[in-house]
């Protein structure tokens, strides 16, 4: 059972909830994946014990200048403008390269070999029941998607529970994080920004996903009623409402989990997960 925790707007409580959901499962085998590879935060709340680190890289071209005849085919073929011709020789701008391999395939002189270019790190930590995976994009590197893919591959598909903490927004990195999930939770807050971005996220899910999805309204007493009215009108289930609480905010600030300050949520969240599992059409 794969559950993605996403949102349009940032800072609504995705990470807090993803962690609390994973912890509520206690003695069930779970993988908690941090797909927010630009700003991974789960490690601030849950220590990665006996952490295994692996480099994530893509293949980028290395041009043998002696062999390059300056024909320009690679420049023409590169859709990312990562190769330019300077003084009759091809030159690579690695930071623009997506690692598609087009240049190496097209070079008539076989003057292009491909070398690994580091774009991020994958960290995994195995626990008795809860396993943690985090991807961390190198600073200055724009390519989040290959890192997200590596994070998702780190969890065996037969794991009973996989919970994904997704990046904010509705662009390709969000889509790549939620794709393949059996159920999606959109975390929002009842403010105009939260409402607007929730609608964007819902439209995104409707275009790209067949998974069951519902909404959790965080800080539910801090704004207005528009989100409840919208969800009712659109038939989107509201899975849970969490009241605004200074206690939660303070705990979050210091890296404590929701369940440490509000243990009553353990039962609520666990039953929410089982409910999702049932609704996603899987036998328990």
């Amino acid at each position: 059972m794969k559950i993605a925790v996403a949102s349009g707007k940032g800072g609504t409580g995705k990470t807090t909830l993803a962690i609390a959901l994973a912890l509520s499962l206690e003695e069930e085998e779970t993988f908690l994946l941090d797909c927010d590879v630009e700003e991974p935060n789960i490690h601030l709340f849950l220590p990665f014990k006996d952490c295994e680190n692996k480099a994530i890289s893509i293949l980028c071209p290395l041009i043998a200048t002696d062999a390059c005849t300056g024909c320009g085919l690679c420049v023409e073929q590169c859709m990312y403008n990562a190769i330019v011709k300077i003084k009759q020789k091809a030159m690579v701008f690695t930071e623009l390269c997506h690692g598609c391999g087009a240049c190496a395939l097209i070079c008539p002189e076989k003057a292009i070999t491909e070398i690994e270019h580091h774009i991020g790190n994958l960290s995994t930590s195995q626990g008795n029941f809860l396993n943690l995976v985090q991807g961390c994009l190198d600073i200055g590197n724009p390519l989040a998607i290959p890192v997200i893919k590596a994070v998702k591959k780190a969890a065996p598909s037969k794991t009973p529970w996989i919970i994904l903490d997704c990046p904010p927004g509705t662009s390709c990195s969000m889509i790549h994080s939620i794709s393949g999930a059996d159920a999606i939770i959109l975390v929002t807050e009842p403010t105009p920004f939260g409402y607007h971005d929730l609608k964007l996220a819902v439209n995104t899910l409707k275009s790209f996903s067949n998974a069951f999805f519902g909404v959790i309204i965080n800080r539910c007493n801090s704004g207005d009623e528009s989100i409840i009215n919208y969800c009712n009108k659109e038939n989107i289930p509201i899975l849970l409402q969490i009241p605004e609480s200074r206690k939660i905010a303070e705990a979050y600030a210091q890296g404590s989990s929701l369940l440490e300050v509000m243990p009553e949520y353990k039962v609520i969240l666990k039953s929410l997960l089982y409910d999702l599992k049932q609704k996603a059409g899987q036998a328990i």
Partner: protein, 304 residues
């Protein structure tokens, strides 16, 4: 031409509310909303759209099933796992989500059975607001190339500023540190990072500040909701000091952020004499003076 960007690393720290407040303190400026996939600045600035433009960027491969001989070469060559084999019908199709638009399959298909079409992935708008012109955009759901859409927003903002004789651009940036943030940050004159006292925000802001250092952009910090954890605020102030980054001001946790948002007003408009507004004014003045911008950029409100 000076360009200032408001960003945060972590989402939800108050970037847009603070950008909007600064917009109402500025004159002769162009505003640019570079959070193109979940943009919110327009909810406060209520823009009237003057011009819109489709954002066509990148390409997408499509297999023509009748011409495909199912040789599977595209499947072998594609590094983005975008070619999806159908074992039952022994055919191949392209996953539009996974396709990166590299063109390898198109180039090497022996049957020339793969089309390469333009991808329209969003819209870019030039609008009028009560504070001045706004360039903003909307990436379509799941859209790629958000960095390139950000670059388009910035290019249009610069063109507009030049054409209308304004020499200042205020940018509301996206969260994260990836492709759209890099596109938002490059060649800016100053970064104002909005942080909140939490380990997450500190962690994320440090990554953002490393990125801005990489691009040699002078950076400053505002700590929002500081009283949620005075202890962490202290730690953060010390950390920023060690990094040589000045904290221009601290804002307490205040529901005025949400209340102003609900009224579609900036905090300055909603509660002009309140503590938050006063602090925001002082932060804005410091930021302007740091960068030796023309004092006329600051709107005469009587209070300044």
């Amino acid at each position: 031409m000076k360009q200032i960007i408001i960003a945060s690393g972590k989402g939800g720290t108050g970037k847009t509310s603070i950008s909007a407040a600064f917009a109402s303190l500025t004159q002769k400026a162009v505003f640019a909303d570079c959070d193109v996939d979940a943009s919110d600045l327009h909810l406060i600035l209520s823009p009237k759209i003057i011009e819109k433009e489709n954002f066509v960027c990148g390409k997408e491969a499509i297999i023509k099933p009748l011409e495909c001989s199912s040789c599977g070469l595209c499947y072998q060559l594609c590094r983005f796992e975008a070619i999806v084999p159908n074992t039952e019908s022994k055919s191949y199709a392209v996953s539009s989500i996974a396709c990166d638009g590299c063109g390898v399959c198109v180039q090497h298909c022996p049957e020339k059975a793969i089309d390469f079409i333009d991808k329209e992935s969003g819209m870019c708008f030039h609008s009028h607001t009560r504070f001045g012109p706004l360039i903003h955009a909307q990436l379509y759901p799941g859209g790629e190339n958000s960095g390139k859409l950000v670059s388009l927003v910035r290019k249009k903002a610069i063109e507009l500023a030049q054409a209308s004789n304004m020499d200042f651009i205020l940018i509301d940036g996206p969260p994260g540190i990836g492709c759209p943030v890099i596109a938002s940050l490059t060649s800016c004159d100053a970064l104002l990072a909005i942080v909140e006292p939490s380990l997450s925000s500190l962690h994320d802001a440090k990554r953002l500040l490393q990125l801005s250092k990489h691009f040699a952009i002078p950076s400053y910090v505002v700590i929002n909701k500081w009283d949620i954890s005075p202890k962490l605020t202290k730690i953060m102030e010390a950390e920023f000091q060690n990094m040589g980054i000045e904290v221009l001001g601290k804002l307490p946790y205040d529901l005025v952020f949400t209340k102003a948002m609900i009224k579609a007003q900036t905090i300055i408009e909603y509660d002009s004499t309140g503590e938050i507004s006063q602090t925001l004014r002082s932060i804005w003045k410091k930021l302007i003076h740091k960068n030796e911008y023309q004092p006329y950029l600051i709107k005469k409100e009587g209070i300044l």
